[in-house]
């Protein structure tokens, strides 16, 4: 594959229009078409909490190398309405183009830029010609975009055929729409847009999931058998996906009456012996905190994804944030070990979800997967997920017909690691008692002093074992130059923009590094300490107001940051702004 005609090796498309016009869908179709031609793509959407009408957009960035983020500017704007033009004009690169419906009346005086190219297309006319519905204007625009960059329309046709498999009329209509857009781009505008995207001969076989898709697939691969959740933006897509695939996934999927119900279902299911999971955001997580503690006390494995969005309270329901880290670490009364893992891209969403299930069962603790709207709703092209890379490890779960040990079964039997054998309720010759009260090794309620201390210490032995485990499993990843002049430090979805910023710095000969803290609890202070030793200027990059990872590093490693870049408007970081901060820090 090859990109030519532009300043760098990436092209950004922005598709914008009204809510309800299928903007994200269109963007991902375009992404797939380009991915199949060998390109790497990344797509992020932006929409307010509105069903129809308001402005939505999707940015698709394409490159010949792995790509991790939307860019800082737009090369080609596909404007499904006039508002999109006016709102995004200033993001266009010099020489950038705007594809829009020729029916839109756009006086020259309405535009501020004169260094861009306008491509009025007969979007509506084309759809009317075909007898199609209004939303198909998107597809015409996609065709047009492909035409302008000289891309093979047949690949897009293939994507459409696969996406709508079985619905022949829809396929045919969309094909026509693509062709029309494409033809029109070749015809009047041939070569008038300088950029060219040439596909490879062979499709390298990548996939284009969102973080939500990856988490859902990770849960399936991990053998999750019950998924219970209450609708909550931006976590709902996992529920939708799994509800649609329950048979293939071998999962029972329940839309519950509330988050309280969802998490208590997970506890019940896990107690009964199956892997189970829930996901939510913000207020929903608040409602789950009580049962999180129930799981902690009963040592019931639990996997819970918290998708962060800007709070407090309802906040900005459809935007992104990293504001819940410390809440997640401390949620629920009392003290008990837990895992907090924060994937930074779709691949990590998949593999770390599998690991989260393993850790939860091995240590009989609660794994919280901390993501955010940006990570979880963005598409990224990636190698197909390989479930075999993470072996299922259920820890000391003894699935047996009959309890054959000499001594009576004790759910909380003391052990060196603090972990006790689990069996399935229903095992003959034994009964399983899990208790939210402080309890004896049999699970019976106690409030005696010594027994309490013994059981608290047992739980904390698990934490120590877990800490060692986590330190040993790559809890901190580093990217870039070992002898860096500047080091970016972050977690979760900042990974993408930070890696892109590294590229930008690298292009200018600046030695730069990115340190990604993947496991945040138990906090891997050893690994963090090593990663942050002698690394030049350190810049903390977080999408919150109070530098929460910074506090953890201060607390556990005694390290403070002179340079801190915090963003809390709900928008993801752009690579360029991180780059600029790094430049600034270097002085």
């Amino acid at each position: 594959m090859r990109i030519t005609g532009l300043m760098d090796n990436s092209v950004s498309f922005l598709i914008g229009g009204e809510a309800g016009q299928g903007i994200t869908r269109s963007g991902s179709l375009l992404g797939k078409a380009l991915m199949r031609g060998g390109f790497h793509v990344f797509g992020a959407n932006d929409y307010p909490s509105v069903i129809r009408g308001s402005h939505n957009f999707y940015v698709l960035r394409v490159s010949d190398e792995e790509i991790w983020s939307q860019g800082d500017s737009v090369d080609l704007l596909l404007a499904l309405n006039k508002e999109t033009i006016l709102l995004h004009e200033d993001e266009l690169t010099q020489g950038g183009g705007i594809v829009y419906d020729e029916q839109v009346e756009l006086g020259e005086e309405e535009l501020e830029r004169d260094d861009i190219v306008l491509f009025p297309f007969p979007l509506t006319a084309a759809v009317e010609e075909m007898g199609g519905i209004a939303i198909m204007r998107n597809t015409v625009a996609l065709g047009a975009a492909l035409g302008l960059v000289g891309y093979d329309k047949e690949i897009m046709k293939g994507v459409i055929a696969d996406t709508f498999a079985g619905r022949d009329r829809i396929i045919e209509m969309n094909r026509q729409a693509i062709y029309k857009g494409h033809a029109h781009a070749r015809e009047p505008y041939d070569e008038s847009y300088p950029c060219r995207l040439e596909p490879s001969d062979e499709n390298p076989g990548r996939i284009l999931p969102t973080g939500n898709d990856a988490v859902a697939l990770g849960a399936i691969s991990a053998g999750c058998k019950l998924y219970a959740a209450y609708p909550m933006t931006p976590a709902s897509p996992v529920l939708h996906y799994l509800a649609a695939k329950d048979e293939e996934a071998g999962m029972a999927v329940v839309q519950t009456e509330s988050e309280i119900s969802a998490v208590n279902m997970v506890v019940g299911a896990s107690y009964a012996g199956i892997r189970a999971m829930t996901a939510t955001s913000g207020g929903g997580f608040c409602l789950m905190t009580e049962a999180l503690g129930l799981a902690g006390m009963t040592e019931t494995p639990l996997v819970l994804m918290v998708v962060q969005r800007p709070g407090p309270s309802t906040g900005l329901a459809t935007y992104t944030s990293q504001g819940d880290l410390l809440f997640a670490i401390h949620a629920s009364q009392g003290e008990f070990p837990r895992v907090i893992v924060a994937p930074g891209d779709v691949e990590e969403c998949f593999y770390l979800t599998m690991e989260a299930f393993n850790l939860a069962e091995r240590f009989q603790v609660q794994s919280l997967i901390l993501t955010d709207k940006y990570l979880i709703e963005s598409h990224k092209s990636t190698e197909p997920f390989d479930s075999e890379r993470v072996a299922i490890d259920r820890g000391d779960l003894r699935i047996m017909e009959k309890w054959r040990e000499e001594e009576e079964y004790r759910r909380y039997k003391f052990s060196g690691s603090g972990v006790s054998p689990r069996i399935l309720p229903g095992t003959r010759g034994a009964t399983v008692l899990a208790n939210s009260n402080e309890h004896t090794d049999y699970g019976y309620t106690t409030s005696e002093s010594e027994k309490t201390v013994a059981m608290v210490d047992k739980r904390f032995r698990k934490q120590e074992a877990l800490r060692e485990e986590v330190e040993g499993m790559d809890p901190v990843k580093t990217y870039g130059d070992a002898d860096a002049q500047v080091t970016l430090v972050g977690w979760g979805s900042t990974k993408g923009p930070a890696l892109e910023a590294l590229k930008m710095l690298g292009r200018e000969g600046v030695k730069a590094r990115f340190v990604q803290v993947v496991y945040l609890e138990p906090f891997p202070s050893r690994a963090v300490g090593e990663a942050l030793e002698g690394v030049g200027r350190r810049i903390l990059v977080e999408a919150n107001r109070t530098a929460q990872l910074g506090k953890l590093i201060k607390l556990h490693n005694g390290l403070a940051f002179e340079h801190v870049f915090l963003k809390y408007d709900g928008r993801p970081f752009n690579p360029g702004e991180i780059y600029a901060k790094a430049r600034e820090a270097l002085g």
Binding site: A228, D246, S261, M265, V267, A269, Y271, A272, P425
Partner: protein, 285 residues
């Protein structure tokens, strides 16, 4: 054959002497024995309150959850393994105040479990506050002038939520209660058994004497449990006469039957090794 001995635990019982919970628990044990259930195949899920202590006093599997959340936890135990017999134990505060939001949903799902509410019309464990079933005028630490809220009627709530089995028992009549439990457990679907359970420590109104004078058995008056209107009418009775027995019973599709995944046997028995997602990945290519 399960025996009383099999169901006993070594834990010292801390219910107040004379508490209605003794009769209730005995009836549960008898029902288990008479139905020929093994202790290993029964799971008792309990809320927080005096009632919740059942978990320490019955040698079945047990899950002592948090206040008000018996239903979701019990529902999921059943989904995970429908071969288990699931009994939920809740208090009136547990079930009808903090936890009442789960009741209509468990009922309309018709999940196969027996939900036993130890209805002592008071908060026992937290030292005697007014409960949602306490009647208007009930005096307690929290309503020293007498409660000015009408009590919740659990039976009409359950009926209007489409529960497929609704009964009321009385802890003072263990034999009758045993029969109700047996029917409830045998019923395939959601069964609510609200049990009038005298609390000798706090409730000075709804005592054994109070009930002795008032309870009557529905079956003795030829009540037809398939008659919903009549069930509503009887559910409304609370005065000189208080009905006990099965108010309503209907056949309806049970919840776990509707999950395609469960057609292949209990989820707990399905292997989770080597799951292949390649087919699922196709749509992402």
């Amino acid at each position: 054959m399960t025996t009383m001995q099999d169901l006993a635990t070594p834990v010292v019982n801390t219910w107040c002497p004379g508490c209605g919970n003794f009769g209730l628990l005995m009836a549960v044990k008898r029902a288990i024995i008479q139905l020929g259930l093994n202790r290993e195949e029964v799971v008792a899920v309990a809320g927080i309150g005096c009632h919740g202590k059942v978990i320490d006093y019955i040698k079945t599997n047990g899950l002592h959850v948090i206040h008000g959340r018996v239903l979701p936890a019990a529902t999921a135990v059943k989904i995970a393994n429908p071969e288990l017999t699931v009994l939920g134990f809740a208090g009136d505060g547990d079930a009808y105040n903090i936890g009442i939001g789960h009741l209509p949903h468990a009922a309309r799902r018709n999940i196969d479990l027996t939900y036993i509410v130890h209805d002592n019309l008071v908060y026992g464990l937290t030292t005697g506050q007014t409960s949602p079933t306490s009647k208007r005028g009930y005096r307690s630490k929290t309503t020293p002038r007498g409660s000015f809220e009408f009590g919740v009627n659990p039976l009409t709530q359950a009926l209007s939520a489409d529960a497929s089995f609704v009964a009321r028992g009385y802890a003072g009549d263990m034999h009758h209660l045993t029969e109700i439990f047996k029917q409830a457990i045998a019923h395939e679907g959601f069964a609510l058994v609200d049990v009038l359970q005298p609390c000798v420590a706090w409730n000075r109104v709804n005592t054994y004497d109070f009930y002795k004078e008032r309870v009557y058995k529905l079956e003795e008056e030829g009540h037809d449990p398939s008659d919903l209107d009549e069930a509503y009418r009887r559910a409304g009775e609370w005065g000189d006469r208080i009905p006990i027995g099965v108010l309503y019973m209907a056949e309806r599709e049970e919840y776990t039957n509707s999950f395609p995944t469960l057609a292949e046997g209990p989820l707990v028995k399905q292997s989770i090794e080597g799951i292949d997602i390649s087919k699922l990945l196709r749509e992402f290519h």
